[in-house]
């Protein structure tokens, strides 16, 4: 296992309650772990701990067998890439320069990027098919284009683990699917991926394993088909859902919506 979380607990300094407690998880190379959970359950904090951006208050996180807090920032950044939720940078850097920033962990303290870094950056930009955006300002792009740029930056960073905080939020339907298939492609190239999502369908589509985060702990972890059940969705999101098992194409959640409430009752009676 390339990334292992052992009995992790976290509390923000100065606050009385803990955000989460006793969380144990692991991800192997080429594996996609998707964390599902309601708003405010601490998914983002957990991801920040995984990337070494926040220190755990309990337990430990090992990256390739070493405690992540014992590694230098540069060492962590060469192994783990963290993609934050979409945001607006103040200065209008070009897409090219934004992607080039992914090379920062490989640079000496005083040195700007070198020619070899430019080559890697151009490869990353090309492989995502965004060469036509290279000289545009990152801040003027649409959400989908920005997410692609951040993925190009991740490629330039050449990590072994990628931590993605809601990679599909703010994206339209088409871009969501594009990003999800990109995540699968990254996993195929032996990268370990930890992501959060608000959509259980996305977990069905890309995840090898799913962790359900609820009440500051991991309520269940395992293969998506085992973990994502009608009961657990009812419990964590407080809504009624039925599951459509679709062999060979993955499962899907179908909300029991009031427009179809009568039909659902009929359907259940038929079962």
């Amino acid at each position: 296992m390339i990334l292992e979380v052992h009995k992790a607990g976290f509390a923000y300094p100065g606050s009385s309650g803990t955000v989460f407690n006793g969380i144990s998880l692991s991800v192997g190379a080429g594996e996609v772990l998707c964390i599902l959970g309601p708003n405010g359950v601490g998914k983002t904090s957990l991801l920040k701990c995984l990337s070494g951006l926040l220190p755990l208050t309990e337990g430990k996180i090992s990256c390739k067998g070493e405690n992540i807090l014992a590694l230098s920032r540069t060492q962590v950044a060469r192994t783990i890439a963290h993609v934050p939720q979409l945001h607006n940078p103040v200065f209008a850097y070009s897409v090219y320069d934004t992607v080039l920033m992914g090379r920062t962990p490989y640079l000496g303290f005083f040195s700007p990027p070198r020619q070899s870094d430019r080559v890697i950056t151009e490869q990353a930009i090309d492989s995502l098919g965004i060469a036509h955006l290279a000289e545009k300002a990152y801040s003027e792009l649409s959400g989908g284009e920005r997410q692609l740029v951040l993925f190009a930056r991740v490629l330039a960073q050449q990590p072994e683990i990628i931590v993605l905080d809601e990679p599909t939020s703010h994206l339209d339907y088409g871009n969501q699917l594009k990003i999800l298939s990109l995540i699968r492609n990254l996993a195929r190239s032996r990268t370990a991926i930890v992501m959060t999502s608000h959509n259980p369908d996305h977990a069905f589509m890309v995840a090898d394993r799913v962790g359900i985060m609820f009440n500051g702990a991991i309520a269940a972890v395992g293969a998506p088909e085992e973990v994502i059940t009608v009961e657990i969705l009812q419990e964590i999101y407080g809504v009624a859902v039925t599951l459509l098992r679709n062999d060979g194409f993955g499962s899907m959640c179908v909300p029991v919506f009031n427009k179809y409430a009568g039909n659902a009752k009929l359907w259940r009676n038929n079962e």
Binding site: R78, P84, V90, Y93, D97, M101, T104, Q123, G129, E135
Partner: protein, 347 residues
């Protein structure tokens, strides 16, 4: 790899070329430097000036009046104006990156009011030029240390808290300046304090130039070497850390360097506003937001701008016009015009 073609083609059309850089960084400052030496009470033609330079290099000869004027009076002043203009602009650009805010000036953490108080105290108590410079420098650094220290005590690295700390420290020192003004002798000490606060390069000597060239060059060198890191830092503290930077130490180092520049400049010239706020914007409009280009461009444009303003200050009317007044009265309309034209490089 076929797709890299169009990317690099657009790169060439959008980005300034090498020749452009050479003109901006080398030709423009040298031209301004030479032109500024021509202007003054004691008139000199370009040819005479070149001749004076030539003679100056010759060993064993009696210097003429023109040579004296150029080399003991104008040259230190011109060189200091360029050094301070370039320094303040680099410092401003650096602070804008650290604070991720294009409205930040080099004085954001209270260095100007701190230095102002130090100078006012020194004028009140001694009046010796060296003491005034020393006190201004020390209190400028102290003010920034207080602002930053306050942010650390509150266990936050939030830029908002740091800005507020700067406001608090600035307000405190500006009240102290008022107190010193209030008790100062209105016929003797008070005008000196008031003129000091307006900023001027009128009394600059070769000694002043030599005093500040080391700290300002040091500060600029550190910021220049870290200019790529400022790009990454300006994306946000957490993002910078996830890209492998020790953002806290980097921020401290950059603030120290920028403050070294600003405090040294303020110590000899008083408070020269506007340059450090606006020149980085001008540079961003011309060369884009990338700090790899922004830092050298700010340095060059800032040097030329303050030199232009100082040359106006000593030639416009019979007496000297305080620099602080001119930087803004000339600069504000100028900036208003370019603001209409260009893209700012920030959103």
């Amino acid at each position: 790899m076929t797709a890299s073609g169009p990317a690099s083609k657009t790169a060439r059309s959008v980005r300034p070329t090498g020749a452009f850089s050479i003109i901006m960084m080398l030709v423009l400052p040298l031209l301004c430097f030479f032109l500024a030496l021509l202007f003054g009470r004691y008139g000199a033609s370009p040819l005479e000036t070149i001749k004076a330079f030539y003679n100056w290099l010759m060993p064993q000869h009696e210097p003429s009046t023109l040579e004296n004027v150029i080399f003991t009076i104008r040259l230190p002043r011109v060189a200091t104006a360029m050094l301070i203009g370039g320094g303040l602009s680099v410092s401003g650009a650096c602070f804008q990156g650290i604070f991720r805010n294009p409205l930040v000036s080099p004085f954001i953490l209270g260095v100007a009011t701190g230095a102002g108080f130090g100078a006012a105290m020194a004028i009140l108590l001694s009046g010796n030029g060296l003491v005034i410079q020393g006190a201004a420098f020390l209190f400028g650094m102290l003010a920034v240390a207080l602002s930053y220290g306050m942010t650390r005590i509150y266990r936050t690295s939030s830029m908002l808290v740091m800005t507020l700390s700067g406001v608090i420290v600035g307000t405190f020192f500006s009240a102290l300046i008022s107190l010193v003004k209030y008790v100062a002798d209105p016929y003797d000490k008070l005008p000196v304090i008031v003129f000091w606060l307006m900023g001027s390069l009128a009394t600059i000597s070769q000694k002043d130039f030599l005093t500040i060239i080391v700290p300002i060059t040091l500060g600029i060198t550190v910021i220049f070497s870290l200019r790529w890191k400022i790009n990454v830092l300006s994306m946000g503290e957490e993002e910078a850390r996830s890209l492998g930077l020790h953002s806290t130490w980097l921020t401290i180092l950059l603030i120290m360097s920028a403050t070294l520049i600003t405090a040294s400049a303020v110590a000899v010239s008083g408070v020269i506003g506007w340059v450090g706020l606006v020149i980085p914007h001008l540079a961003r409009m011309i060369g884009g937001p990338d700090y790899r280009r922004l830092i050298p461009l700010s340095m060059s444009l800032g040097a030329c701008y303050l030199l232009l303003i100082d040359t106006l200050a000593r030639n416009l009317v019979g007496g000297e016009v305080p620099l602080g007044i001119l930087t803004a009265t000339v600069g504000a309309p100028f900036f208003a015009v370019i603001l209409k034209k260009g893209s700012l490089g920030w959103s």
